[in-house]
Symmetry: C2
Subunit: 346 residues, 2 copies
């Protein structure tokens, strides 16, 4: 292990070739300096080993995901990415790991023209914290609190695959631990070293979420409210209902049609109850959920078509409290609507 | 232990009374929204238990310090604080700890009119990450790279006490561990439960650094370069020399007069070599080191006087590489000039 110091570590892996772009001053001073911007959108996310990712995750994918979950917050706000900071605690300096992490991080950053302008590195249990900066005209920001009764509810992409991949990895890890460190066998999609293509696809959804930045920009002026799906559809929709209701001083609910939910095809072989649970209450999809007046349907379809991205109308906002999911025959689909909560014990 | 959830935790301890101030949108959406600002100064710092603070530190002081080290970066840039985000990983939800932490954090935030606009909470090994936003006219920003040969070198306040407190606490911790968990005795400033007033004062410097925000604002247009002293005077000054030299394509050094260094009075009883090491190479002072043309001496004295803050001229920037500290008779004072580095092994 080379005794790579903090300053050399930053210079080698995180200072970009070519110096700052939009930033007036990048890494290496007490602060970065960004030029005057329109209304500034800011979000921060902290990822912890063993909670947000498995300790043996591919570092290139982890670099991607660390930034992706933050860009997803900008997308949900209709903001255009500008820059980000990265703080990381590392248990040791593992140069191949750092190179792969930085490669994954910068590939996504470059794809969104989002510049690393500052950061901090320290020794400690693995922890990654990104703060991202975007720009959006104030009146076009996609807030959570703008939904009205009668609005359609939409989601982008397909749901449930990432949550399935988490469940399968957790089961594998428990099985490995239970059998004294050897791999488990029998009955899993990955038994005997063979992994089903559905599970590989689900893992890709979990490890490399695609932030819907272009869709967020296209929704400016069309959507009444938006949120990214990180904690599960029902829980995240409930946040929109709570905040939109509070903003208008009314109770708001929603009617969601289970048959309309765009469940990821990777889940086709699973029992119906499992597909419901994964697509309605599972997390980590990083698709956008948004609301819009019915008059916007054609414009939304055209905008999504131009991006080559599937969007699906799954229900509508209703006056009065309550989030109900119904089947084709009108019966209520039972779900555990709670979002994932990092501190809830039960 | 109450099963307090993530969202209740944020609402109870971190959502402010009275809603957002300058922010257009605060905690609770995908992003916070800040109004258009002048040139934006951004800095991020990550604090890890066992490295940046002792695990049993007073949580009120920790809340103060978590923000203070970031405000110190704004001060060193001449930026006016606007807002910050806070991401924290907690091993458990300890409500009295959280309340004290939030009280310490917000007391300092309010004193600087700096608003918490967003964050993230998760379970994990204790880790605190603040990203702070300030505003500064581009042409007045106090960068590290503006020093010139002939400039005076100045520092604010007194140096060395925080580093002494770290050394004493580390020694106490080792002694406690070495004696099987009971407190050590004999020969320390804190033996027998009695703590010398000098050590109490040093601990206060370590635990509650005062970011020199007002001084940073006063230095706009007067200082040619500035940095905050977090890693030790010689190491931090070397950063200024390196960046200022690189910006002009020349080698820059400095001549520092050891007798001029404002060593904290708490260190009066220590041997001279120890006082040199602590005040020149110790960290955690969070005072400002700045450079300015000799023609600015009167203006600087007046500005510091108006703030009731001591500033001391300790030497000058010289053409040619090399940072030399000399005694009253001109002999070179030997120092270990390396900054504190979180990854260096030796």
């Amino acid at each position: 292990m080379a005794a790579l110091g903090e300053f050399e570590l930053i210079a080698r892996y995180f200072e970009r070739r070519g110096g700052p772009r939009r930033a007036l001053l990048g890494i290496g001073d007490d602060c970065a300096l960004l030029p005057p911007l329109d209304c500034l959108a800011v979000s921060t996310d902290m990822l912890v080993a063993g909670r947000h990712f498995f300790a043996d995750v591919d570092p290139n994918a982890l670099g991607h995901k660390t930034l992706a979950v933050n860009l997803s917050d900008l997308a949900a706000m209709g903001a255009s990415p500008v820059a980000f900071t990265l703080a990381l605690a590392l248990p040791e300096v593992d140069e191949p790991w750092l190179r792969a992490f930085a490669d994954g991080l910068f590939a996504l950053a470059d794809a969104h023209d989002c510049e690393l302008v500052g950061g901090d590195t320290t020794r400690g249990p693995l922890n990654l914290c990104v703060t991202v900066f975007g720009e959006v005209p104030r009146e076009l920001a996609l807030r959570r609190d703008g939904a009205r009764a009668g609005d359609d509810v939409w989601v982008s992409g397909e749901l449930g695959a990432a949550a399935w991949a988490v469940a399968e990895r957790t089961r594998d890890a428990e099985r490995t631990a239970g059998s004294g460190g050897t791999a488990g066998s029998g009955g899993t999609a990955s038994s005997g070293g063979v992994t089903a293509p559905e599970l590989l696809r689900a893992r890709a959804r979990l490890d490399r979420p695609q932030p819907r930045v272009a869709l967020g920009l296209a929704l400016r002026g069309l959507a009444s409210a938006a949120i990214d799906l990180s904690d599960g559809l029902c829980g995240d929709l409930q946040h929109v209902l709570d905040r939109s209701g509070a903003a208008r001083g009314v109770a708001l609910g929603a009617e969601i049609a289970w048959p309309a939910i765009p469940v990821d095809a990777a889940l086709d072989g699973l029992p119906a109850a499992r597909r419901v649970a994964l697509s309605l209450a599972g997390g980590d999809d990083y698709e956008l959920l948004f609301c819009a007046a019915p008059a916007r349907r054609e414009a939304l379809a055209a905008a999504a078509g131009a991006l080559g991205l599937r969007i699906t109308r799954i229900g509508r906002i209703a006056a009065g409290a309550g989030l109900r999911v119904h089947d084709a025959d009108g019966t209520t689909v039972p779900i555990d609507a709670r979002s994932f909560d990092h501190f809830r014990t039960a």
